[in-house]
Subunit: 258 residues, 2 copies
DNA sequence: GCAAAAGTGTTCTTCGTACACCCATGA
DNA sequence: TCATGGGTGTACGAAGAACACTTTTGC
């Protein structure tokens, strides 16, 4: 009932800021109703030649000591969940993703054995070239999606949902380019799609479809050939035209499907 | 950093269950770190002849007194967010949805002026026949999606996301049937799709596509005609075959797209 | 009785799919 | 030099889109 809801809100608002004046370590926060902890977890994807990879961090303490888990941490009172996810990512792995996206919130009562923890989960995409430089944490490692170790907490389930969300999303939006370098070949792009969707496409049809979308342009660095040279040319590189995509999206002309 | 995260978890675990023995009203919950409140909000859709509708509840107290808002409330410590959404739905509107689905979690720091509140949002689908009987709350009312009043908090934004999520979902899964009666005509189904997707389809192509999916069967109550009668027959009713859909889904044969 | 809605099939065009050869690259 | 991978075009079939007439239904 509406009355009840608002009453509850008023109640729990009455936080007794017990000890603003005490020593910092002894400050506590008191509520008339129990509150869960809220964290974010981040499934970071990176694509390397043929394989989709995710970044895991090995836990140093109980519970699930030595098990692998996704990076994440507690949402602060002055930041949104997305800001939290980005901050934790930076702190724990020194990575700044090309794309980040909330995909699900996990709320099973016993998902953390210590206390009630609700986790808002994100998937993030990163280029391989961005990884070199970042990712200096010794307890962090990349794993092939097809070959993951056992994960802590409910992170197996989180991963499954993350992969599903990624697959769904890539059906509709050109987020795959966030996993590739600025310039890439069509076969690279195809391996990416095949890796994520766990499928196989005909090379020629894949290329035709991608080029028909009108979102790719040839790199200026491609070697130019004589107008009627035959057979294979040098490895062609392409670029994704973000502006074109934005334009098509606002005009509702965009439609990708694989 | 991993260390820091776990330390934080340990800290905030040290909840001082201050007063299990005191009078219930004076019991308080104390944490070493501030915790946000966590609520669920529920965007309930219902389809009526030509229009998609949502259920809103008029607020009785400040803030946003008299403004309209989605039903929802605080997540209890012993229930998942989905259980909470269903419980609140039942309590506030006496409705039991055909389908409920989490679509986004809203975490803007100032979305509630009183305190930090994170809201896990669901959309729910309900048949019109289920509404009659439920929905006895005097402060609740159905509104056409195309004609909503101003909403409380960030509920305008929540609604926009809910509608987008519903549109996305109905592209891929036959959840539209949860909004229709057990038996329905093809034109009814078409109006539903057109209403949700805000589009127009050719009647004959729509029917062809729907029947081709193989998920519909004729009602046994349809009047039978002579084998070679001409012209229009009586209004035909159809049923959705859930078992067939499940079968196709497990065999990865299903593919809907509008 | 009349206007609005609903049942019904065919044609054309578009898109997806299957498929083969030649050449560059690097082991 | 040989195997692998990459560039390129065409023909066929399936699916989507456009489209008219007749009958029922409800005002």
């Amino acid at each position: 009932m509406q009355e009840k809801v608002d009453k509850t809100i008023v109640d729990s608002t009455s936080k007794v800021a017990t000890s603003e004046n005490e020593k910092k370590d002894e400050r506590v926060y008191t509520y008339k109703h129990p509150h869960p902890s809220v964290t974010t977890d981040c499934v970071i994807f990176c694509f390397d030649k043929k394989d989709l990879n995710v970044l895991l961090i090995q836990r140093g303490v109980e519970p699930y000591k030595d098990a692998w888990a996704f990076p994440g941490g507690f949402v602060r009172m002055d930041e949104t969940a997305e800001e939290c996810a980005l901050r934790e990512l930076k702190e724990e792995t020194n990575l700044i993703p090309e794309h980040i996206e909330q995909f699900h919130t996990f709320t099973e009562v016993d998902r953390d054995p210590r206390e009630r923890v609700i986790s808002i989960a994100y998937f993030a995409l990163i280029k391989k070239s961005d990884v070199e430089g970042g990712d200096d944490a010794s307890d962090a490692r990349w794993f092939k999606v097809k070959d993951l170790p056992p994960l802590a907490f409910d992170h197996d389930y989180i991963f499954k949902k993350a992969l599903t969300a990624l697959k769904q999303k890539i059906h509709f939006e050109p987020i795959g380019f966030d996993l590739l370098e600025e310039e890439f070949s069509i076969p690279e792009l195809q391996r990416l799609y095949e890796g994520i969707l766990n499928a196989h496409f005909d090379r020629r049809n894949f290329q035709k479809k991608m080029l028909q979308l009108g979102l790719l342009k040839e790199s200026e660095h491609n070697v130019k050939r004589k107008p009627n040279a035959k057979g294979r040319s040098k490895n062609k590189k392409w670029r994704f035209i973000m502006e074109k995509y934005e334009e098509m999206k606002t005009n509702h002309q965009f439609r990708l499907e694989f």
